[in-house]
Subunit: 372 residues, 3 copies
Amino acid sequence: MPILLDPSKAPVLQRLLEETDTSGLTWSIEQGGAQVPAGEIRVAGIANLERAGPQEISFVANPRYQAQLAEAQAAAVLVTAEVAQAYRAMLAEAGRAGEALILIICNAPYLLFARIGQWFESQLHPLPAGGIHPSAVVAPDASVDPSAHVGPLAVIESGAAVGPRASIGAGCYVGPGCRIGADSVLHPRVTLYRGVSMGARCVILSGAVLGDDGFGFAPDPSRAKGAWTKIPQFGGVRLGDDVEVGANTTIDRGALDDTLIGNGVKIDNQIMIGHNCRIGDHTAMAACVGIAGSTTVGERCSIGGAAMIGGHLKIGDDVFISAATPVHSNIDKPGQYTGFFPMTEHAQWERNAVAVRHLATMAKRLKALEKK
Amino acid sequence: MPILLDPSKAPVLQRLLEETDTSGLTWSIEQGGAQVPAGEIRVAGIANLERAGPQEISFVANPRYQAQLAEAQAAAVLVTAEVAQAYRAMLAEAGRAGEALILIICNAPYLLFARIGQWFESQLHPLPAGGIHPSAVVAPDASVDPSAHVGPLAVIESGAAVGPRASIGAGCYVGPGCRIGADSVLHPRVTLYRGVSMGARCVILSGAVLGDDGFGFAPDPSRAKGAWTKIPQFGGVRLGDDVEVGANTTIDRGALDDTLIGNGVKIDNQIMIGHNCRIGDHTAMAACVGIAGSTTVGERCSIGGAAMIGGHLKIGDDVFISAATPVHSNIDKPGQYTGFFPMTEHAQWERNAVAVRHLATMAKRLKALEKK
Amino acid sequence: MPILLDPSKAPVLQRLLEETDTSGLTWSIEQGGAQVPAGEIRVAGIANLERAGPQEISFVANPRYQAQLAEAQAAAVLVTAEVAQAYRAMLAEAGRAGEALILIICNAPYLLFARIGQWFESQLHPLPAGGIHPSAVVAPDASVDPSAHVGPLAVIESGAAVGPRASIGAGCYVGPGCRIGADSVLHPRVTLYRGVSMGARCVILSGAVLGDDGFGFAPDPSRAKGAWTKIPQFGGVRLGDDVEVGANTTIDRGALDDTLIGNGVKIDNQIMIGHNCRIGDHTAMAACVGIAGSTTVGERCSIGGAAMIGGHLKIGDDVFISAATPVHSNIDKPGQYTGFFPMTEHAQWERNAVAVRHLATMAKRLKALEKK
């Protein structure tokens, strides 16, 4: 595993849990029959249960997988109280009570596993110290907090403001008047056009472009048949707190008003969000999604990969769009929505595709038969 | 609204219209019952009709929306002669003739609105002055017009030529021998591979890549079962005048000949155009479109978002492809073409999808019933 | 044609073939009735048969096109023995034996054509000489082979290693601990996050991002209803030898293990490969493909453009997915698989789409009729 801390730096379990952010969580350590007291066992990494070794911590979030505990080798395993009970009963029945693994009983094992991962991440890849790399080009009237980091060959334009402990990666471009909140991180080679703002703890992955011109043109037949003229885009892009934007994703700035991304929204790679869209808090989108301009998506939605949502639509809260589904109408009721052609072997598809082309006729013919 | 000019810089209406590019347009100001003569009213911005305040100009392009005029607050409104007449009649009937807004009667209100927006854009975000930022790396034998701008940390390679008043954004890479026409603008972090050329007034958004290798490989079983060897791509990419290319879009260079993008073509974000494609004048494509290699698209086509066009096809002039539609055959007749599976609630889709898989059989069974 | 070498640098045919990599190939020159001995004819470029002039070499890979030979003007043509024989017979019958073109008889004409193209490419665009551009920012403890090239404004972080004759393009970011094998080439503006490794002779096109965070979040209701917390991504991305990665493509690093791309895999532009995917040797993917996390794709597969493959799936060897096809289930049998809605004129589609929404009901009604 690539994540093992050097044994000399591996914390004992008790300290690991004390230093992990466990806000909102309850946990307790159950030592079972382990030889080593939990306070002394060292944890050098995390792993999936079937691969975890005696220095790694793991988890069982789904009771379906609790049978795997019987053979597990992990230093300790995060489980719910229910799983812990079943595990004890199973060992007792098998006369193996003395072999019990150390369990960390928690109301949300997967969440605690994520938080423990964050602790390891902070050890392995601490954010760089504050300071501006000498090769960066920072406008004299830009404001960079002394605790913020600006990487090599980054550009920060006039009037931009970079907050405390924020980090601007190598080769980033931060346009005039941008606002980057505390603890937000731009990975290398991100573009923020003028006037983009984001709250605290946002993460923007490499190659993302925020605030580029929305796609707006007016027909201009005075120039040539079919010609277009540009409608300037005056709005901005505003991100709330805790937003993640994936690699090579693009978010257009608004035409007149801003494009808005709510708090806690998670946006994967290669997603395209058109101008004047509004995305509600905690909505998540998998890669390759496209959302055309002026569409509103509610809170806590899940948009599957490569789903495509048309423009000027309203999608309500708690809507789940399946992967590869095109959306061309409003959705006001929570639930899952789907629309893609089922895949088959090609020869079978060819036969069915012929029939699809004549479906309306088939429907009529069926009706005619029924009337006979 | 983010677009208001400082009142001290806001022009009076008469001057605004005189300084706006109104070529090909006819316009006249109708003061109606307005208290303030049109020559004196100051316009500090533009807005949609329902949001425009007394310092902002707006428009009614579609007679359907003319009823909104009754409540509008705008400094002045762009309308057609027909809408103006209806508005006057409406006010007269309501005994409100004295409240009439200032109207600008125009043969193409939306186009004039766009042009007025361009005037504000030129005030708010004038192109940078000519000159090369000291951090840029410009080959000694590259030719940069003195009136052109080269931003920080841009690279301009040997033999490239940058025309008058062109602007190369921060962090751009302009490869050997590229040609950038007058008044063309590369936003930050654009890549032009060697030999890419563009005409006048093109706009290339951040992250776009033009002239990367087309995807060409020959089977090379001499190396390994299933192995491929690269077919070098010797062509270039040529853009006409007035082309816009969106953020993170990619346009491959041709294998032997050039990939060609016609005059006035508008290409949104995250679009992929394969090698040796030819796109006709004034065609527009919404985001996430893909066009495979060697396909020709005619003039004045509209390609909806996420439509996918196969390789070696011919799409004629004035064709409209709906969003999310896959195109696998030539289209020689103007008109709209569509092909995507309609979205429903998931449970409904599941039932229908089962039937889709057996459609060819259903067609046979229907025929058999008809023969009874 | 843009590829003609200056006549003074054009090789004679014999030398061209000797200097081309013909490993695994057999070839012989047949002079036929040509006036100029093959040893003396100069070849200044390559072209398709119908466009090749007397200084250019061409090929006939498919016997279907051999009729074009009758009118061809090429300096020499690559053909199979079968095509050569048919050509001779055709000329003899027409009494034109004296006009025969020079033929290069080869067991794999298209492959040899590609290799000859590679020879011209090496002449026209030789890789830059070793050395580090003074504007690049290279960590003191990074290891750059003296024969490797590092372009202007590139960043190479701590502990990274760049192998012999490798080339790092302008504006690239190479993260801590990356490993770049011999003769691998990064085009301008590529991002490699920490810990990405690639073998020999890989080519990474502009704007590609390798090793960005996989999209992993755990529900965190302790923060807010519907909130998410990040699952840190500790894995890397490992590419074999001879991999090509297209422009603006993204490949996520693994959550705990690495994302793996096999030898000879060819990945086109704007492709998204999720974390922990494994792609088998010599598989090729056309542009705009998306593969969700933890999916395994076998060897020698072909994935058509804009196909979308769901997560946690297994696709076997030698599978061909058609363009625009969504894949939501495992595929364990070689063959072609397809699934997209066939395009029609829009009005026709509208009629058929209504019927699609009621397909399950139609199936029931058909069954009921059959029972009568």
